[in-house]
Amino acid sequence: MENEQVIEITNGIGSKEIVNATYTVSANITGYDITSITPNEVEIVEGTDDYSFTIGATGTLTLHVSDDGTDAGIPIEGAKFVRCDADGVTHGDEITSDVDGNAVFGNVPYAEEGAPNIYYKQTASDGSHDFDNTLKTITLTTETHTEEVLNTEAALRNFTLTDTNYTGLPIADGQILLS
C-alpha cells in the first residue's frame, strides 16, 4: 500500500525512496520492545536524507563473577565488562561487579526464538584474579538470565632484582612497583 513503507535494517542501516510527508514509525525487530522506538513520528523533508532512531529492550543479563565460576564460589567485586558488537568494538558504558560478584547489563534483547546475539567482554578483574578477555556471545531466551564467570586466583609469580653493575648480586631490600 502507498501509505506504508517498509525499510529493511541490516547492521543498523536501511535505505528507501520515499515521498516527503509525515509518518508514524514502528518496527519489527525480534527481541526488542517495538513500542520504545524513538522518535515514533518523523517528517521526511526535501534536503534531509539521513534519519536516526533508537529502540530499547527489556531483558537483563547478570554476569556473576566468582573464583570457581559457580554460584557457590567466592564472589569477586570490581570485575569490569562492556558490551560490544560482533567485531568486538565496544559500545556503551562499562559495568562493574558488586560485592556479591554481580555485574548487570540492563535493556538487552531477548526472545523465545530468534533473539539477536549479545556480545560482551571482560576488561578487568579486581587486581588479584586472572580473567578471560576474549569476546563472548550469548542469546537470551528469557527476560532475565545469569551467566557464571570464572576469574581464577592470580598465579604466583617470582621476581628477582639484581644489581645492574655487579651481575647476579641480589638487591637485599626494597620494592618493585608494577602498574
Binding site: G12, S15, N20, A21, N28, Y32, S52, F53, A57
Partner: protein, 109 residues
C-alpha cells in the same frame, strides 16, 4: 465548469496528468492536464468517478467519487516526489540493530 488541477508537493503544476471521468463505469472523458496543471470541462449534473494518474510521481493513480451540480468546482490533486533516505537504528548502548525492519505509516495531514 469543473477544473481539475494537478500539483507536485502542493507547489508545482504538473502537465500531462491523465484525467479520466466515468459514469456508471463508462468512460466519458480521457484527457491530459495542460502546462498549468489544469484540465477543465463542462458536464451535466450527476455522480461520477474520477481517475487521475501520473507516470512519475506518487501515488501514481488517485480515485475520487464526485457529485457534480450546477456550480463551478475546482478539484486539486496533489502528487509527491520520492527521494532516497537512509535510516539508522541503534539500541540503548548505541549498538546498531543487527536485523529487522522499520515501518513508516504516512499520516494524512
Amino acid at each position: 465548469m469543473i477544473k481539475i488541477k494537478c500539483m507536485l508537493d502542493s507547489s508545482i503544476d504538473i502537465c500531462k496528468c491523465r484525467v479520466r471521468l466515468y459514469k456508471n463505469d463508462i468512460l466519458l472523458i480521457d484527457e491530459c492536464t495542460n502546462k498549468y496543471g489544469y484540465y477543465c470541462f463542462n458536464i451535466e449534473k450527476g455522480i461520477y468517478k474520477l481517475k487521475i494518474s501520473n507516470k512519475y510521481y506518487y501515488p501514481k493513480i488517485q480515485y475520487f467519487s464526485i457529485f457534480i451540480n450546477n456550480n463551478d468546482e475546482e478539484i486539486i490533486v496533489n502528487f509527491n516526489k520520492k527521494h532516497p533516505i537512509t535510516v539508522r537504528l541503534v539500541d540503548n548502548y548505541n549498538l546498531p540493530i543487527e536485523k529487522g525492519r522499520m515501518i513508516f505509516w504516512k499520516m494524512n495531514k
